[in-house]
């Protein structure tokens, strides 16, 4: 039997009955059809599914949907506000911080959390913060630059 949950996702409240084993990542993708949150592994290693849960970056494959009951969630689809892209969304474009785009939502969400806690991180701090996110295309070089760029813009 399903368990009822209510979550606030990108400012919209959703109530569903979900199987206890349903991962939050699958809930977002399959139930809410928010497919910007990607799944790249089975071991919570790649970070492609990173979202914000109550403001903190979380790999949504490490959480069950039922654990998110009552939480406020932001996914990549909810990052822009009033049609204005988030500084990180802009800086990833400006610094060529993405190629295939698959890891990008997770990278941006992780960086959002980083900059919220450390508005002007050093290169090493950025690289350390990205440790949980794999990118196979960029060699991270331009992702680091994009985050530095966004930090400078925000600051």
């Amino acid at each position: 039997m399903g368990i009822p949950i209510t979550v606030q996702v990108n400012g919209v409240s959703h109530s569903h009955e979900v199987e206890p084993r349903l991962l939050l990542a699958h809930y977002l993708r399959d139930v809410l059809r928010l497919t910007g949150t990607h799944i790249g592994c089975d071991t919570s290693s790649c970070g492609a599914c990173t979202i914000l849960v109550d403001g903190k970056a979380v790999k949504s494959c490490t959480m069950l949907a039922v654990q998110a009951d009552g939480a406020e969630i932001t996914t990549i689809e909810g990052l822009a506000s009033n049609g204005e892209l988030h500084p990180l969304q802009k800086s990833f474009n400006e610094e060529h911080g993405l190629q295939c785009g698959f890891c990008t939502p997770g990278m941006i969400m992780t960086a959002t959390d980083l900059l919220a806690n450390n508005p002007s991180p050093s290169e090493q701090e950025i690289r350390h913060a990205l440790e949980g996110n794999y990118c196979r295309c960029t060699g991270y070089h331009n992702i680091v630059k994009a985050i530095q760029n966004a930090a400078n813009t925000q600051g």
Binding site: E19, R21, R29, D30, R33, L34, T35, G36, T37, H38, I39, G40, C41, D42, T43, S45, C46, A48, T75, I76, E77, L79, A80, L85, Q89, F92, N93, E94, H96, L98, Q99, C100, G101, F102, C103, T104, P105, I108, E123, Q124, I126, R127, H128, L130, E131, N133, Y134, C135, R136, C137, T138, G139, Y140, H141, N142, I143, V144
Partner: protein, 791 residues
């Protein structure tokens, strides 16, 4: 440099990716869709005694289950190999079938045995656990050298000694003679370890059969949807090609692994027709590890002969290449025509010979992975050169400069004919190395190194220079070498009546940024705005034909096809313009988006000509309306990018941990359309090449189990494992394609690996370490230091 060509234009495709609106295969949900789970062998080699699906079939939500027996009874062929490499004695290559589902014997961990289709992914997974397969485990072999020895377990009965083929290239007699008279011979025995490409998007496929129109659609994570369609229709399912549409939407990285036609693509297509509903399969990461084609996996004995002045006099190579359990689409050409042919490197070596055996083993099939054969060739050359320099007491940079092929532009000087079948197009090899040495400040480094040593720090510097062959073609040549496909590219340029342009390319972008780069070429050539150009790719229904994206070929081959179509547009446009301007065609020139009568101010804009072509009221007599051209471009030769990479490392004395302090890459990829994108390609390639040097290896145990088949166990470089890269370039245009471009996708991967290993060996010079097997994990480096100390 034009208004767009040569400029770092920001990518037009980014917005959908940064806002979460990319459309990858697994994002697609079709009405009435079902979900597939594939039952895979847990054994590397086993006889299947029985498959019992009764309990699974009774599980709620299960729609259908098919086994190897069903596939065999339906008379479906296996997935084919696209390149034939025959034995030295002329015998035909051994090409055992690779069925969609195996019925009799499994041959690697992950081999597909049955497919369960259900209403939900969860139901399919639950039911899959109820399928009972009775296996009788058999002994396995995983190493290519051991596989071809007497008494090794056989992968296929029809391939004695597990040999798919043996192969040689170069002049054996001349090489043996050169080696016999060499002043010094440097010998190294390598394992170029097996890698897993690991695109972050797992493979996925959706089959969708439309019974009303008897039409099939396959959505798949492919680098070349047209080739997948051709192989699946003509060789596997026997479907009429015009009834099959293959779509490769946004694809999350490929690096080679998504070139090939995989069993799952044909399986979901066939199953969809059987059950009359769409069928989706998406790999879990562990399935990707077991079934995405792997890369590299060579065992090599390499010898390089030098004269007393350090000139290379000969190169002799013996390689055992692992092809895995079945021949993947391009597997056979990788260790041969993409590896043996690159053994000239940048050097004037007068005598070269390679002898190679390609072996079946009980492992995941091996095929092209970023660089494909060229990293293996570069690795052995650059390790030999560096080791040779050390043994001869020469500076490794100097030894390279002494042996480089002198500069040639391929126009005023002819191309360079190698000892191993290729003719290089153009090159200036000294220039790239000198530039890299200058950036890294090579002359001062040795002082810095000596200082650091005094403080107990182990610093090392390593050089690598490379050449690669991209855009492999022309078709007639690759056909003669065994390719079962042409290697041209197609492009359609459709000028819309309003002057907007739709370009349909057979290349496929899965990160390369074609929607931007190709648009830059089109906008510049037509003198129009960038936003007036739309690049369409990845759909066999929209794009007439294509050979896809791999081997750094998109711009050199696909871009050239676009230029051919643009030329036709401009040529026809000139006829219309001449009529409108009441001038002769020869008196017109086309520039900045307008035809002008030379020497006058009489001109007509591109947009006016476009409209006239579709509203041909006042129009040249006898000329067809419309402005829409298709072209196929079959290159005259391969393209040959080259470069020099230098790594600076520090090795921790206590732990053996290698820290990459600096990485300098100077690459020459010919002309550059978008420097930002080219640099991005180089960065990504470097990370993968460094990954091979320091972190990555697919490890099989004796029983054929892939023991590190997850992201928890297989180590790829993370952000804090790498420094920011120092990249630069020289430009030696390709003389034989209209854009003068050579390709940039693989350069970083090819050059970087030996630079890092050479740097570590240099750091350990006081320990007398000659070689360490990749990846250079702290444990291996520490062990090498201990062994060195003892001796």
């Amino acid at each position: 440099m034009g208004k767009f060509i040569g400029q770092s234009i920001k990518r037009v495709e980014d917005k959908r990716f940064t806002t979460g609106h990319g459309r990858y295969t697994d994002d697609i949900v079709l009405p009435n869709m079902t979900y597939a789970q594939i039952i895979r062998s847990p054994y590397a080699h086993a006889r299947i005694n029985s498959v019992d699906t009764k309990a699974a079939a009774a599980h709620p939500g299960v729609v259908a289950i098919f086994t190897g027996k069903d596939i065999a009874e339906a008379g479906i062929n296996g997935v084919p190999c696209g390149w034939q490499v025959d034995f030295k004695n002329g015998d035909t290559m051994k090409e055992p079938p690779h069925p969609l589902l195996v019925a009799d014997k499994v041959r690697h961990v992950g081999d597909a045995v049955a497919i369960v289709i259900a209403e939900t992914r969860e139901a399919a997974k639950d039911a899959a656990e109820l399928v009972e397969v009775d296996y009788e485990e058999l002994p396995a072999v995983t190493d290519p050298y051991k596989a071809v020895q007497d008494g090794a377990p056989l992968v296929h009965d029809e391939a004695p000694k597990n040999m798919a083929y043996d192969w040689e290239l170069g002049d054996k007699e001349k090489t043996d003679a050169a080696m016999a008279s060499a002043h010094h011979i440097t010998t190294l025995e390598f394992v170029n370890q097996r890698l897993v490409p690991n695109a972050i998007e797992p493979r996925s496929a959706i089959g969708d059969y439309d019974a009303t129109n008897d039409k099939y659609t396959l959505y798949t994570t492919s680098q070349n949807p047209h080739l997948t369609r051709l192989l699946m229709c003509a060789f596997v399912l026997g479907l009429p090609e015009h009834k099959v549409r293959v779509v490769a939407p946004d694809v999350g990285g490929g690096f080679g692994s998504k070139i090939f036609h995989y069993i799952e693509e044909a399986l979901v297509t066939w199953c969809s027709q059987k059950i009359g509903r769409p069928v989706k399969w998406t790999a879990e990461r562990s399935e990707s590890f077991m079934t995405d084609a792997h890369g590299r996996d060579h065992v090599t004995k390499a010898e390089m002969g030098f004269d007393k002045d350090g000139k290379i006099v000969g190169l002799r190579i013996n390689t055992w290449a692992n092809l895995g359990a079945y021949l993947s689409t391009f597997s056979t050409c990788v260790p041969t025509w993409l590896h043996g042919t690159l053994l000239q490197g940048l050097y004037t070596t007068p005598a070269i010979h390679i002898d190679l055996v390609a072996a079946f083993t009980h492992t995941t099939p091996v095929d092209a992975y970023r660089g494909a054969g060229r990293p293996e060739a570069t690795y052995l050359l650059e390790r030999l050169v560096e080791t040779g320099a050390r043994e001869l007491g020469m500076d490794p940079a100097e030894l390279r400069l002494k042996n480089f092929i002198p500069p040639f532009d391929g126009v005023n000087q002819p191309g360079y004919q190698t000892q191993v079948a290729l003719q290089y197009d153009s090159g200036n090899y000294e220039q790239v190395l000198k530039k890299a040495l200058e950036i890294v400040d090579y002359d001062n480094f040795r002082k810095e190194q000596a200082e650091a040593r005094k403080q107990g720090k182990l610093l090392g510097i390593g050089i690598s220079t490379y050449i690669e062959a991209c855009g492999i073609a022309p078709s007639a040549v690759v056909g003669a070498l065994g390719a079962r496909a042409g290697l041209y590219e197609s492009a359609q340029v459709r000028i819309q009546p309003t002057g907007k342009v739709s370009v349909y390319t057979g290349s496929h972008s899965h990160g390369q940024g074609h929607e931007t780069t190709f648009a830059q070429v089109v906008a510049d050539k037509l003198g129009i705005a960038l936003e007036d150009v739309e690049i369409v790719h990845g759909d066999s229904e929209a794009v007439a034909f294509g050979m896809g994206t791999y081997g750094s070929r998109s711009l050199a081959v696909g871009g050239s096809a676009i230029v051919k179509s643009l030329d036709k547009v401009i040529e026809k446009g000139a006829k219309i313009a001449a009529h409108k301007l009441e001038a002769a065609v020869d008196d017109l020139e086309f520039a900045n988006g307008a035809w002008t009568v030379k020497g006058t101010d009489k001109s007509i804009a591109f947009g006016d000509i476009a409209l006239t072509a579709y509203v041909p009221h006042d129009y040249p007599e006898g000329l067809e309306p419309g402005l829409d051209f298709s072209s196929f471009y079959d290159p005259a030769n391969f393209t040959y990018p080259f470069g020099a990479h230098i790594a600076v490392v520090e090795v921790d004395k206590e732990t053996g941990k290698v820290t990459l302090k600096r990485f300098v890459a100077v690459d020459d990829v010919g002309n550059v359309i978008n420097p930002m994108i080219v640099e991005g390609q180089i960065h990504g390639g470097l990370a993968q090449g460094i990954g091979q040097a320091l972190f990555e290896e697919a490890i099989y145990d004796e029983d054929g189990q892939l023991v590190n088949g997850t992201y928890m166990d297989y180590t790829m470089p993370r952000a804090d494992d790498l420094p920011s890269f120092e990249t630069d370039r020289t430009v030696t245009p390709c003389p034989h394609n209209p854009l003068g471009v050579k390709g940039a996708g693989e350069a970083g991967t090819i050059g970087s690996t030996p630079a890092v290993v050479n740097a570590v060996i240099d750091a350990l010079s006081e320990y007398g370490v000659k070689d360490i097997r990749m990846p250079l994990t702290p444990q291996r480096v520490w062990q090498a230091m201990q062994n060195g100390k003892q001796s």
